[in-house]
């Protein structure tokens, strides 16, 4: 009984552990390559590139993981994401999500 409860708790916790937060300070250092297009603080230098500042941490992780796996295709981003480790992705997402920028639509 207790063992089952323990397993259930572990299973419930799984989706949260998968999106664990990275280190924003480490992410800032790793983001130097990204800055050329996405701007120093995640506000893009070219309007065809997305702003990243304030985007949700887990969405950024998913976007980078999808570029890395090829599920999301973009000539520039595929090359950029290819060498990233899982930790790099978490750190970068932590950095950009901690910046002030994008908003939910309801807040006006």
């Amino acid at each position: 009984m207790i063992k089952n409860l323990f397993i259930a708790a572990l299973l419930l916790a799984l989706p949260f552990t998968a999106a664990a937060k990275g280190d924003a300070a480490a992410g800032k250092t790793k983001a130097q390559v990204c800055e050329a297009c996405h701007g120093q603080d995640g506000k893009s230098v070219d309007p065809t590139y997305p702003n990243l500042a304030g985007q949700h941490d887990d969405y950024l992780q998913k976007a980078l993981a999808d570029y890395r796996s090829g599920r999301r295709k973009n000539a520039i981003m595929s090359g950029m994401a290819a060498p990233l480790t899982d930790q790099d992705i978490k750190d970068l997402a932590a950095w950009y999500s901690s910046q002030d920028g994008l908003k939910d639509l309801s807040i006006r």
């Binding site: 989706p15 999106a19 893009s44 309007p47 065809t48 590139y49 997305p50 702003n51 304030g54 985007q55 949700h56 941490d57 887990d58 969405y59 992780q61 998913k62 599920r71 999301r72 295709k73 920028g101 994008l102 908003k103 939910d104 639509l105 309801s106 807040i107 006006r108």
Partner: protein
């Protein structure tokens, strides 16, 4: 001399064109606000989750106009893999996409 005049003409045409291209958006923000009603059902609820897999629906308020157009057209063409977004985008005309994108982008203005 003739070359100079031609150059001057080209330059003046170019200078006329640049502000037009840099101008904010071809889309209509007010029309976009109405057309974007459906979008707010997911993108307008802070912290709302996508499911399978679970991650937060991205914030698009203040996103760049040009990028939003690229994103919506990619979903419409099934070049970006998200069944719900593809379905939504497939009901949109180019004008709808421009209006909606102008509305979302306008969140960064104030």
């Amino acid at each position: 001399m003739r070359n100079l005049i031609l150059t001057a003409m080209l330059c003046s045409t170019a200078s006329l064109m640049i502000p037009m291209q840099a101008a904010h958006a071809a889309g209509d923000i007010e029309a976009g606000e109405i057309k974007a009603n459906t979008c707010t059902g997911c993108h307008g609820i802070p912290g709302y989750n996508n499911v399978y897999p679970t991650y937060k629906v991205p914030k698009i308020g203040g996103q760049n106009y040009e990028y939003l157009i690229v994103a919506l057209k990619s979903y419409r063409a099934d070049e970006r893999d998200h069944p719900t977004m593809s379905l939504q985008a497939q009901s949109l005309s180019d004008q709808d996409i421009e209006d909606i994108s102008a509305y979302f982008a306008s969140f960064g203005d104030e």
